[in-house]
Structure formats: structure tokens, C-alpha cells
Subunit: 286 residues, 4 copies
């Protein structure tokens, strides 16, 4: 068997067309790459889009450069867009947190035990509660308080910290609504955890409203943040059963366990280039 | 051990007050009843209501009459409401169905194999598709077509069939909205299956809307029918995971399997006197 | 967009090797096929096997013949094995059943409503309970009683009915252990539903043993039948939660709902060519 | 409404007999207690045992002493055993851990955020990996290495630390088998997390064996430790779905998330006096 010394991932999207898989797999073959994982999806007959994710082993920088040349050729002839990524360049994330630490703690622990293939570049909070926690995990902590009046300034301060240092912002129960301007800086690069199974209970106080409605399941939703509140592309959801005897406090406690796991899965999938966005929906290649 | 020759159930609701459990259990003890199952719930501190369900073995009609006398005494002193039921008097249900038969078939099969402790008194449909199915299960079938103009007449015809013959109406994917008048005739006695995890996707075409929103879970909700569309007390819900590759047709197929099981559970619990309604929510003693 | 008038599926397995995906997708491209669904899996580094399932649209018999010629060429050079199937040639199944009808009923209903893409060629039973049911669904019913002494004769009689008329045998709670000889006639073509989450509770009376052990979940397992009892390749499993108050009878009732759904999923996936077997395990491309 | 200033729980087990509920609830009524939560279970017809858990509000020490006097009277006449506990006296636990920290971290975090109503008295480990973690949570850490030869000495050292300081030992992925002698010191007071859905994969390397068998679900089981390996009363189990593409490493990662949640639930229920043991099975009043 051939020796490979590096891994890479290729993400492709384009209008669905005959030969696209043949062309891409031939390009990989010509540079001696070995496909280890592959998934594709066509939206046809809805709107005829094609999406593909390929993980492969290759022989090093020279092969990759050569592959890139082939792909640029394909790009010209097929109008496809593509992205080559290196799994060893780990995604750099910033965690935004307010008062509740369950999502923060899960991300920190999963990162430390290599369950989450990311580097945590910083923790940003509008409260000063978790500086010590950040220190224990050797992660820079930035306390940036926010009031209605200081919001834009605070976001600008955040942006100066994040710019060119961070690939993804994770709102780990960050209880501030980002401005339109801030969201525009990070398209499909902000993941939020909402504490309901969206689209049920959009907005504030979802557990209180779930309790009032008397639902028998509660849930959590990880989604990319867009201008419209809680309406961005959903990456992952999960639920847990509840009973008439559960009050709001117990819903919140049970919900935390769902929230932190859903958020961690979404961040992991994003970091592994498994999530593509199209028409405000996600394609998740798991 | 004492010999018992009959079973019964006692359902109690009242303002929460000291001694209520002691009084009820003493009444049961005095007539020699043996409690086999018991559950209680207090809403306190919300609004201080107390609910109880007791299943017990007893020595026959004389004991039960005596118990009833004790309970009437308690009723006077505690303002409690109560209901004594006999599990051997099986609940009589009518199944309403339109074009899709998955819920109908599940109820028929579960009833025939003693998984559902009810008698199916009749099937009513606004289509003539399932007469043969009804025959095979030896159940009277009534075809009552409905148009916008004939709705009230049709409901009156339904009501004449149902009156005093049926304890519960089960809307097994019956695609007609009942009139306010019809609903008023059967308070907390009509169970509907809605094909979404309410309160998400209230109203028509929930699978289409779930697909458009790109949710990662779909669900079904069994609830009592009230005036407000899809807003009655929820009895049971369940969900299944879906993927980006599932189109509306496959959501509908997967959803059927959830719908029929959720509806069957709700009917079973209702038939076993496990469901109490308070403030548009259910207490389900399972 | 090109017009396609037929669908097909291609299943490939071989030693993992560079270029295999490129070669296969090129062959498809050359005959103008359009890939609609594709999945692959490599066992490397365990034992370096490659598996692929491709669903595609094509231009008719001529294109398919041409594709087959390409694939035969590949077969010679790569030692791959492949199979081309036509989704419109529906799999013909025989359902074997004993006393309990829940799996039978689910398969019949799912087939009738187009949820299960198979033709049910016959029902075979060692009891005469479900002849009427078979009639209602217009399916031939064969009553073949079995005793210890008549087992080989009975299996021969079954085989004469099945031979060349049936592609898959579904043991839908058929409470007889097939002989080694019978199993050898249908390698990876007999699906059984076992009423536990294997490998827990192999053999008889799994619910009784689950009750005695005090487990908090029960389950069901659909697997291909091999010589070793309940040890064949697992296709699908599912579970449900149980409580201390559930006795053996209620475990059995709850279990039925799991069994029938797990079995129906396994049959569906088999019928859609989604299941490959390797080293007594399954690859399931869902 | 009456003012209550304290809470308590009453756990009762005895042979099932008429009047037992009436007697107990009368005793509570006589001292002015208010039942807030109540659950009971009878094993009849199996072996006629009765179990009850009552949570109640009371008027303070005097009322509780009076109640205790009543209960002692009942104990004499009914042969019941009972236990009165005070929820404000939090259970003191010791966490035993080896190399993997996921269960430890979950317990520490849940305890700190009041999701787990216990005090963590100490962490004991046969490795020196988590001293810093223990410090961060201000919990005493004891490093007690164990070899085959030093096992009895090490367990004696553990016992000296635990004795009269700890109510429950939690084996949070502690990879040592306790001696018969050590287990005898803490009957039904040692909770272990086993990384399979018992009784599947008893003993070592469950994920490796699950992978080899090709199961489609993996799980975890929290149970009390008894002499027989992995055969003690099961408190809680849960599972997660896996695919053919998951290797042993990914099973282990997915399993961790199940293990830590199952263990935390079991410890919580034990701490809330919700778990009773009878005939090597648990009654869990949730």
C-alpha cells in the first residue's frame, strides 16, 4: 500500500450536472489521493444543487498543489465552488458566555479531551464570572460588559479581539442579541444554542413558555445566527421527555444537559467541515 | 391473603389540603380494598390543586357502594370531586378517519390484540375508503361526506350516531376542523393527533413547513380538542430524527410511524383513566 | 436538463485501492448516468475493504448494457464484485409467522401503503391463525405445521414453495429454529427479529430474563440468520425504556411496538439494497 | 395555608397488607405534615412486597419526633422497615476515578451548579492525574496507588478515609475491581458505571466487543456493586445509536457522553432517596 503523509478535505457545491463526481474523483486519482470518506447530496428535483464532501489522504504539499490546479480547471468549466481544508489546521473558536456555564464547561472539557477538534482562542463574557475557569484551562478571558448604550462599542471591542484570530464564534448561552452589523461580519460563522426545539418558542423564556403550554418534550437547537432572531439555518436539535410534575426549574436543569450536548455536536461538525448551508438550511454530512 | 373479586379506580381532584390522602386511604381501608397502584400530584405552589389516581382490588358491589358512601362524605367536607370507574367497563370509542389509514390500522390492531383496553363502537369517515377494513374487524362503518355547506348537518348526523354510544372520539387523521358546537358536546372527550411537535407548526401542512424550515427532528402530538386550533391540552408527544436528504414525502412516511404510536398511547392512557386535565394542561399518571 | 427514463443501483465491494471511485464514476459518466445518491465506506485500516452504493438515473436498457460492459472491464482489473439492480423490480418476500401477528400486520400495512418497496409473495405459518388476514391482503397463505419429527419434511415443503419465487425470507416472530440445511439455502437472505437488544438475552424467553435482571431498557434486533443462534449480522436495533412497575406482560406489549418497527426498517433497507455484509457485520447505507 | 418550616422524606418497605397506606398517611396527618410527593409500588403477585416513598413538609423537630413515635408503633404491628431522612442533610459522596475524567468532571460540575444534591467529600484515585482538578473545586484529593500486591492495604487506606465521612462511593470509571471484603463494607452504597448496556458485554473491553459484534446501539449502565462482577442491581441505563463507520475510538468518545449522564442520574436519584433495592433489582421512584 502507498504511503500517505497528510490528510485533507474537499468541499464542493455547484449546479447538479453529469460528470461532476467523475471529474472530481479523477482529479483526486491523478494526484494519487486516497478517498477515506465521501458523501454527496443533490437537492434535485427542488433546485438542482449538488454538494459533496470528501476526506482523503495525500502525498504532501506537491500533490495538493497539483490537485488545486485540477480543481481550478474544473471550477472554470463547471462553475463549481470548492474549498480545500487541512484537518491539522484546527479551527480557532471564541466562546461567548453570560451567566450560565454549562455549555462553556462542556466545550472546555470536550476540547481538552480531544473530543472537539478545535483550538479555543478566547472566552468573551459580559459578566466577570468565569475568569478563574478560563485560567484553569489556560485560555484568555475578556470581560466586556454591555449595556443598551454601549452595545456597538462593546461589539467593536469584541471584533478587534476576534479579527483574524478566530474562525468561529460560539454563543454558549450568551444572553445578548447581536447587532445586524456584528452578524454581517461573520456570515455562517456564529453558532448559537437556543433552548427550545425551534421553531417552537422563538425568543425569550422558552422554558417558561414550554411549561405553560404543557408540552411533553423540551429541546434545544444549535443554529447559525442570521438577522432574523432564532431563524437561522438549524445545525442540530435534540429533545428530552418531561412530565407534568416538572416545574420550570426542573425543565431548565434538564434542558441544560440537552443544550450543552447539542451545541458541542454542532461545533464539532462545523469544525470537521461537515456542515454546508444552502437556502437557510444545512446539509450535515455525518 | 384476602380474596378479591373485582377491580376499580378512583380519581380525585380538589384544593390541596392536609389529610386528604389519609382520608381517602382510610375510606379504602375501611371497605377492605387493596391498593394496587397509586399516584398523586400537587400543583402547589402554583395554584394549590391536588390530583390522585388509585387502582384497587375490592370485594364486590357491596364494598364499592360502601366506599362511595364514604367518598360522598369526604366530598362534602373537602369539596373534592371524584370518580369511581370499573376497568371491566371498557371505554367505547369512535374513530374518525379521512384518507390516511395508518392511525386507524394501529388502533384496530392494538385493540384486537388487547393492547388497547377499549371497545371500538364505530368508524366514521368523510370518505368511503375503509368500509372493507371496518368489516374485516367487524366494526360498524358510517360514511358521512362533508362539504363546507353540509358541515353542520354532517356533524349532527355524527352526533346522532355517537350519542350515548361512545365515550371518546378519536380523530385518527380526520382532516376536518370540528365546529365549536361539536367540540362543546364532547369536552375533553375528543383526542386529535397533530402531525408536528406542537406548538411548532400549528395548522395545516406541518411536514411541508418542517421541511422548509430545515428542522432536524419531526414529531407528533396527541391532544384534547378545544375551540382553539391545535391548542388543547397535550397528552403525549414523540419525535424522530430526520436528515437533509429527507424530502417532504419521506418526512410524511417517517411521521406516520410516530403519529400512530403517539395516538395509540394517548388513547390507552385516557382509557385507563390516567389523564386528568387542569388549566389546559394534562396530568398523566403513567 | 437531460431526460432520464429509468433508475438503477450499483453495489460494489473490493479491496480498497486508488482510483476505484474515479473508475466507477467515469463509467457512469460515459453512459450518461446521473448519480442521485452515493455512499461509500472503507474498513481500512482494519482490513482494507471498500464498499459503495450508488443510485442513478439512466437512459434505458442500452445505456445499462454499456455500463455493464464497462463494469466487467473494471471487475477484471480491480477484482471488484458488483451488482446492478433495478428498483422497479421489487424484492419478493415470504413472511414466516407463528402465533403473534404484530410484525406480520406491520409488514402487510407498510407494504400496502407503499412504505415498504417489496412484493409479498406468500405467508407461511406453522399455525393456521392468519389465513383470513392473508386473504384480506390477497396474499397466498401456506399452513405448514411442524413437529420435531417433521421438521426436515416441512422445511423441504417450504423450500419448494419459495424456490425461485422469493428473494428474501422474513421471520416475523416465527418461533422455530431453522435447520442448518435450510439456512444454507438462503445465505444473508433470511432476516429474523429477535426480541432483545442482542447480544443481551440470546435464545429463548428474553423478556422474562430482562424482567428478572431488572434492566431499565428493552430492545429488539433484526439480523440475518446464520448457523449460530442469534449471532448473525445485525441490521438494526432499537430500544424502549421500562420501569420497575412493568411486569413481563407489559414488557412483551411494549416490546412488540419496537420489534415490528425494527423489522420493517431492516426489510426496507434490505429491499433498497442498503445493506452489505462483511465479516459477520453489516454496512448499512442509510 | 399552614406554614411549614422543614422537609423530610419517608421510605417504607414491608409485606403488602391492607391498610398500610391508610396507617402511614394517617400518621403523617396527625402530626400536621403535608405530603408533596408520593409514590408506591407493590410486587404482588410476585412476592407481595410493598414499597413507598413520601416527601412531605412538616412543622419542625417536634412534629418529626412525634411522627417517628407513630411510625415505631406501626413498625411493631406491620413488621415494616422505614427510614426518615432530611433533604437538607446532603449525602456525602466519595468519587473514585482512574485515568478517564469525563464522569468525574460531570459530577463536579453538576454538584457545583446545584444539579446534584450531594456534598463531594473527597476524590480518591489510583493515579495522580486529577489533583489539580480537585483543587480547583476545593475538594480533598487522595492518591492511593494500587498494585496486585498492595490491593488489600490500599483498600484499607481508602476505608480509613471513607469511614464515617462518606455515605456513598461513586466509581466514576475507576478501573479496579473491588475486593469482596471492600464491597461488604458498603452494601448498596457503591455505584459503578459500566460502559455497556448490561447484561451485554459484562467485564472488560465492552466497546471493543460491541464493535466486533457489530451492534447498532451502545450504552451504559449505572448499578450498585455486588460480589458478582457487573451483576448488581441496575439503577439506570441509556444508549446511543452507532453506525458501521464508527470505529472503537469513536464508540468510546460517544460512550463517554452516555456514561457521564447515566452515572449522574443514578447518583442524583440515590441522593434523593428515590432508589430502593429488592431481590437484586431496583425500584426507582422518579
Amino acid at each position: 500500500m502507498l504511503e500517505y503523509n497528510a490528510q485533507a478535505r474537499l468541499l464542493v457545491s455547484c449546479k447538479d450536472q453529469p460528470g461532476i463526481v467523475a471529474n472530481i474523483s479523477s482529479a483526486l486519482y491523478q494526484v494519487g489521493a486516497n478517498i477515506t470518506e465521501s458523501a454527496q447530496f443533490s437537492t434535485d428535483p427542488t433546485d438542482g444543487m449538488f454538494f459533496m464532501r470528501i476526506a482523503f489522504d495525500h502525498h504532501g504539499l506537491h500533490a495538493l498543489t497539483e490537485l488545486n490546479r485540477h480543481l481550478r480547471g474544473l471550477q472554470a468549466s463547471t462553475k463549481m465552488t470548492y474549498r480545500l481544508t487541512d484537518p491539522n489546521h484546527r479551527l480557532r473558536i471564541a466562546i461567548f458566555v453570560s451567566r450560565e456555564d454549562h455549555c462553556l464547561m462542556e466545550l472546555l472539557w470536550q476540547q481538552r479531551t480531544n473530543m472537539l477538534p478545535v483550538d479555543i482562542a478566547m472566552i468573551i463574557s459580559n459578566h466577570d464570572l468565569y475568569e478563574k475557569t478560563a485560567q484553569e484551562f489556560s485560555i484568555p478571558f475578556h470581560y466586556i460588559p454591555i449595556t443598551k448604550d454601549t452595545k456597538i462599542d462593546a461589539e467593536n471591542a469584541q471584533h478587534r479581539l476576534l479579527e483574524s484570530r478566530v474562525d468561529l464564534i460560539v454563543l454558549a448561552r450568551y444572553m445578548q442579541i447581536l447587532s445586524r452589523q456584528m452578524i454581517a461580519r461573520y456570515p455562517n460563522k456564529i453558532i448559537n444554542i437556543h433552548h427550545s426545539f425551534l421553531p417552537a418558542f422563538i425568543g425569550a423564556r422558552p422554558y417558561e413558555r414550554a411549561y405553560e403550554r404543557g408540552v411533553k418534550i423540551i429541546g434545544a437547537t444549535a443554529h447559525y445566527v442570521t438577522d432574523e432572531l432564532d431563524a437561522g439555518p438549524i445545525i442540530e436539535q435534540d429533545i428530552t421527555r418531561v412530565k407534568h410534575s416538572d416545574d420550570v426549574a426542573s425543565l431548565k436543569k434538564m434542558g441544560r444537559l440537552i443544550e450543552k450536548n447539542v451545541l458541542a455536536r454542532a461545533v464539532k461538525w462545523h469544525a470537521e467541515d461537515r456542515v454546508l448551508v444552502h437556502n437557510n438550511k444545512t446539509i450535515v454530512f455525518t
